[in-house]
Symmetry: C2
Subunit: 407 residues, 2 copies
Amino acid sequence: MKKQIMGKGLEGWSLRHLLIVSVALNVCLVLKLGYYERESNLTTEQIFHGFCTEEKLHKQLSQTSSSSSSMAAVVAEKAFNFFNPSTSSSSAIANDVVNDDGRVINLDHGDPTMYEKYWQQAGDKTTVMISGWQSMSYFSDVKNLCWFLEPEFAKEVIRLHNIVGNAVTENRHMVVGTGSTQLFQAALYALSSPGGTEPISVVSSTPYYSFYRQVVEYMKSGLYKWVGDVSNFDKDEPYIELITSPNNPDGVMRQSVVNRSGGIWALVKDEEVAKRMTKFIELSSIGVSKDSQIRAAKILQAVSDSCEHAGDSSNFFEISYHQIEHRWKQLRKAVKESGIFTFAWLKCEEDIEDCENFLRSHKILTRSGKHFGMSLKYVRISMLDRDSNYDLFIKRLSEMSSSRSEE
Amino acid sequence: MKKQIMGKGLEGWSLRHLLIVSVALNVCLVLKLGYYERESNLTTEQIFHGFCTEEKLHKQLSQTSSSSSSMAAVVAEKAFNFFNPSTSSSSAIANDVVNDDGRVINLDHGDPTMYEKYWQQAGDKTTVMISGWQSMSYFSDVKNLCWFLEPEFAKEVIRLHNIVGNAVTENRHMVVGTGSTQLFQAALYALSSPGGTEPISVVSSTPYYSFYRQVVEYMKSGLYKWVGDVSNFDKDEPYIELITSPNNPDGVMRQSVVNRSGGIWALVKDEEVAKRMTKFIELSSIGVSKDSQIRAAKILQAVSDSCEHAGDSSNFFEISYHQIEHRWKQLRKAVKESGIFTFAWLKCEEDIEDCENFLRSHKILTRSGKHFGMSLKYVRISMLDRDSNYDLFIKRLSEMSSSRSEE
């Protein structure tokens, strides 16, 4: 018996339950990146983003501060000076004119601030107004199995899936969660056996998304247990295999959400699984923010509208595609110039054993391969920071070989 | 070593950690009810609300429907016809003119729709506008230990506490959660020992809030375990005692939130506890909806404004106080007329062994005492439904004795 939580690439699997956990706002984007991938022969040579690990923040704190009252404060002061209007307004600038003010660049977590500019330019289209008396009830739609799912949000999710054509939406139950993190836990809960004497094993091929292990382990749950790399597992017993496709970190980008407000959901075939996922979210947080669902519905609507007008210069996916394309070109050039990295995601060559540590000495925060079940030679880098930080990151990367020989 | 999660009534306890989990929007209301309690000599004779248990919904489904595709659908069609404008617009009507259309009245969960009217009349004061490009980052305030706490929300929480004077806010860390359900789990996580070999025991005196047991048990966590009634616990080992004060269900009302959007929070003294609670919420749902925090800030602002103008006819607490006072008068009268109930919360007398079952036969859904660790003779009733349903509930209650003798 095999249970899988996955996105794509189902062929050849014998499934008991099929959960298609999909990320709405990235659907077209991912398709676009798929095309780009073939065009540029990048295949797995890509770099990705996600949420920061606390260990990293703690480490960052202990190494950069002795007086701050909280670890977050350090990150705030050092890494987040892009909130300063004087730095946040810059766009794609040639590397040689980027002024390095010594700031820390945090590419550890996939904070999708890159998209702010697009939505600012989109103006009032996605502005929502919510009155004080709205959503007073716990219930969004009492006729729905997932009773906290806002009907307007559900409608826009189905519409976007239909436009993109990437998922069957008929005869599926929709379960909304607070991001993929909560949905992932709901799926684990739904697929495990509450009456079982032994916890079910959770396996995933390396490199796996760094958050998975933490999330599976933090509650010391008797429902499931982390095993990790699927090659360590040869027992003839039920297990849950996590398949993230495109994979994070070494496949095509899987990002939590363009605008993270409630924009991640799951389509579920099996009614009992959908019920148990809904129950989990009820017990975890009695539903999902209605305000965020209302807002996400508005944003999805704008995304779908722009998808339906492919020639439109405001098309969200066209614009995002060109932005990411530009960033990849910059990155490839800089990696080539440095001579000390190869892709796959980003691997340090020569005698650099700890790539994350090495980049940190250049005030660039990334996520070490160890969190993904891999070697310290690797790091994952977020591609989704604002232009001013990304440009500075590229500049430093380009100059690294020479600066290193000076050390 | 004793660890407590509690609201008030700390005197005489030896505490290792003190967590004041307080409900912002109900602060003044609770004080008011406290006064009312003394005036009317009700003491513990009160009836309360909370969230519905799935067992109940399942039971409801199996007994009232054979064709519906989801359990929620039944509740929708039967219990939620107060969404019909023709029924929802009625106000406090004398019992004899309330028309009983046979609807199911669901007083199982504390859905605070009673407050819709007030906020509708308050007009645009609490309307929020959120642009598409806002809150794009995961971070609300990177200088704060709780990095997903919106500064505007934090400010209004402190302001209301200062106006009411019910909590020390200086030298406290604020942790925001998605309702008390998530915060309660964050507190359990923070107070348990991740390295411990045995789970810590969680105890609570009966009647305890019905959700506690489910929430403690659903993950089969190795961090903590449910023991239940404190009188069952005599071991000389660490434990966590849950103290809800005023107690739910048999003390003064503890309601989750007037407008549930992110309005519950915790003030924490110990920095390590605050950090672990923050970590839990990061792992559970990577923070809390920013949209809901922005909205809750606006609503708290309006509540504080109305608190500062005590003579104002729009004072939220004055109005709510009179509304609840009116409902209590109706309830006491109806209970007296029926002759088959006593308060404490609501106890069936005579030969009625299963009070919840008995009331269900009158299409009134309540929560059985068994969920609170008590006898089937008791039920908890939500006082927070819209007027039209509450009035009908009162009418049926008054007539119950006679209708029962006819059965």
